[in-house]
Symmetry: C3
Subunit: 397 residues, 3 copies
Amino acid sequence: MTDWKTLLHALEEEAAGDLYGCDFLLTWDKTESELRAVWRVAEALRSLYQRNISATCFRSGLAISNFRDQSTRTRFSFASAANLLGLAVQELDEAKSQIAHGETVRETANMISFLTEVIGIRDDIYLGAGHTYMCAVAAALDDGFANGVLPQRPAIVNLQCDIDHPTQSMADALWLQEHFGSLEALRGKKLAMTWAYSPSYGKPLSVPQGIIGLMTRLGMHVHLAHPAGYDLIPDVVARAERQAQASGGSFTHDHDMDGAFAEADIVYPKSWAPYAVMEQRTQLLRTGDQAGLKALEAACLEQNARHMDWTCNAARMERTRKGQALYMHCLPADISGVSCAAGEVDATVFERYRLATYKEASAKPFIIAAMILTSRFQDPATCLADLEQRGAPRTGN
Amino acid sequence: MTDWKTLLHALEEEAAGDLYGCDFLLTWDKTESELRAVWRVAEALRSLYQRNISATCFRSGLAISNFRDQSTRTRFSFASAANLLGLAVQELDEAKSQIAHGETVRETANMISFLTEVIGIRDDIYLGAGHTYMCAVAAALDDGFANGVLPQRPAIVNLQCDIDHPTQSMADALWLQEHFGSLEALRGKKLAMTWAYSPSYGKPLSVPQGIIGLMTRLGMHVHLAHPAGYDLIPDVVARAERQAQASGGSFTHDHDMDGAFAEADIVYPKSWAPYAVMEQRTQLLRTGDQAGLKALEAACLEQNARHMDWTCNAARMERTRKGQALYMHCLPADISGVSCAAGEVDATVFERYRLATYKEASAKPFIIAAMILTSRFQDPATCLADLEQRGAPRTGN
Amino acid sequence: MTDWKTLLHALEEEAAGDLYGCDFLLTWDKTESELRAVWRVAEALRSLYQRNISATCFRSGLAISNFRDQSTRTRFSFASAANLLGLAVQELDEAKSQIAHGETVRETANMISFLTEVIGIRDDIYLGAGHTYMCAVAAALDDGFANGVLPQRPAIVNLQCDIDHPTQSMADALWLQEHFGSLEALRGKKLAMTWAYSPSYGKPLSVPQGIIGLMTRLGMHVHLAHPAGYDLIPDVVARAERQAQASGGSFTHDHDMDGAFAEADIVYPKSWAPYAVMEQRTQLLRTGDQAGLKALEAACLEQNARHMDWTCNAARMERTRKGQALYMHCLPADISGVSCAAGEVDATVFERYRLATYKEASAKPFIIAAMILTSRFQDPATCLADLEQRGAPRTGN
């Protein structure tokens, strides 16, 4: 871990203040300096935590979570982040609310926000819907704040949408910085973001999109590989292309898993549903066409099964740089012989990197807390310096 | 906002101490002075909030919510209120508990209350049941506290019952005080509490009852209008009559929506189910008569449909005082062309007052917090003065 | 209540430090000194509570609850305990999580624990499963902590498993100490732990097992009585036997309810399912054999019905010491004529001891808090002394 003073100095050089009052919806909405500010704040919060120094900088305030899909990791990461800063989590469970009674997003967004500091939203099932929903909530909050309904404008943190999964990609990038020593050390490294076979279907695109949408900005050589027909949202791929050029890295996009793994420093093999299938599925879900959904699932699983060789096994790992590439996964992985007969990764490979993937995941609470803190405090460096000086023990009287 | 010192002086003149150790179940159980104390405390808490001064006056303690019906607004208002004061919300979800195993109300009330400061209850579906249930919980807590089972007597806050909805009516009244400048300014104002058409059925009576049960005490001219057959609980109507006389206002009760709107300063058009239908429904729900419930719903919707002209449109608004009456609603409203084809209010009228209804709603967290604070602190004025003097930032170290 | 200084001195003499960093899964894993330490800490926390002194010794941190079965009492006791110490409760609701997606216990245990101080688990439905599950979670946390994944090792508190119910038995023992004046006063007392008839089926064995597994260590004469065929887990019974001998008490095990009640100082009549039935049920639940489960339930209820005379009535209470034995129950009791036609206890007997059973239950939040505090603080006596000296009001600014 970087020395505390060095860390705060590094933070002071970044445009942390530009994050104040803003939502965190897509990493590519943020400047590199803003991203670095989030990482530095996350590191500082982790440093305080490890030294048993309390980071509570709210004495009251709600952190609302709105999960429109299942979640364990992100749910607990959000709860941990909110609690770390002194906020109380209140879940917006749409099944228990009157939203089904015909309430508009605009109204609900205001009704839950009178004393709220942050709203974390996961909405990743419908293509074209998740990010749109978050933007609608954001516009409603802007409206309420501008018109004196809300005494403060709560920040929205995207806990996974149809386009991006910024708490995942930012945590992954922080893990890479820790693993390789620094942000600079990532320049020139090769990262293979590849599709991998899974016996399940309908997995969101937001993880691979989030990874190529962020890592191409760090001067890395990003190689996206998937079977023909498993495309991501074209806009995001085009963006990755542009970003790689601008950052001095490169972006390769083909259908060759072995090529992606060749001399890779980092591999991220993970299943996802084809863009076109997700579009069809969204339509069928909207019309409630159960027969159509079943047929689509069967067709998609059959399609998947033609690519069972897209798996992360020991032989493929041997192709990576000195056979020692860092394996990454957002978890849970489909592990062959453990959680399924045949899946994304062989048990021997996963077990070798199991603790690494746990450490990768451990960055997420601090990343989320950093996103909250930077959006609610104009000067995070001073806030953190004050917390350290106060030195109130996190555990202890 | 009134000046802080003026506010505390005003509070000191009221009988705030009489609220100590008491539940808040029905507004008409409270004296006018007690009601004014609650409003002043709510204003003081809002003032602290707006000045970023922490109002946490509990270092630990549970605030239990028991929602026997869906809720968004009240759920988040209760959570916000509890959190504002330093309490942690714990939901009593009867589906997850052993209550279904034959546990008595008396026992459960004690079991959940060992370290509890407040219990908020919503129970508005069964006519004759909600208020009765709250009284049973109250008696159980009295018993437990008197016999040394409970180290403190948690306060009960009625979050809507079959008779009254005091957190709504008290928040509405605070909004009126803010809107018209003072409590005194409400004297002589005309408020039209009218039924309005909705394509849904079974809406509780507690909002209109709460409104006529409170506003008639403030010297207002309250006009209750609804189609024949849409009566409220007779006792509450009789009480409104008596209260209006005592307060120097008036109470009119007829079947004339236009007459109610004529020269009104405030209009509150809202759907509800007829008292007689709610009684039948309660019986059918109790016996689980699904066929009977379906038949009742059909009959009731047909009955509603005969009164589709009971709607708040631009023409009716023109009839109000200078065409400028304040439109109120507890939300969500059934807005014609927005949330339904034809409903309680035209979209143009609603949109004109949309932000006003949001501001109306924004008072509720502070009203609930004031109800909690007055029931748990013998001297709220001193508590508030101490909080202001402590001056701990709500957000910030 | 013992004097504060006496209490802390008593605590200082016990091996409280040996509880540090350890889980609380089974009372018989703990030494007598460790158990006494937990009781003294619970008493101290109650003393602080009663004197309105805040016991918050965490400024942030999660307390995760994982209820794999229904619960009211234990759920609120755990929430109260966590809140008393300053922790925020976050529920792990397996229905809302991705655990069903094939996630391993090892992985989930780490994923939820990055900023977690305690995990409370109830898992009492499957014989042979609950304790095993808790051990698996414990091993996963050990692994994560040892390998630097977790910055701290959260404590596990068993909130009821298939073998033991330590928060219940420890709270019961604390209630007995209070009732009879001291731990020493329990030596030589006779406790009748007996089966009692209930019209329900499948009640866990963990309460009677917990009671005989703990009370036999306190020098008591424990008499376990149940109808033939209603055996407990043999290992636990054998352990009770051994412990009674070692502690200078005695352990009797037969099929004679009257004999158990004879001259008893304490009676604990409670229904449970036979061990053999629970084993069959576990098999049937695992294979999802609904027909088999129905048949087993019918057979078991029929078997129960042959023992309707196993009930706690006035005549039986007369057989106890001076007719004045203390009646105990973990609640909710099946009360004849109240919660069922015929059940574990007559209404007249229960009503006589109703408040006593409530007081019995009131010890549980403090016991759980003591389990958390001793596992997370190496020197609980100093922690408590500091809290008392700090003297921050629990309620008040």
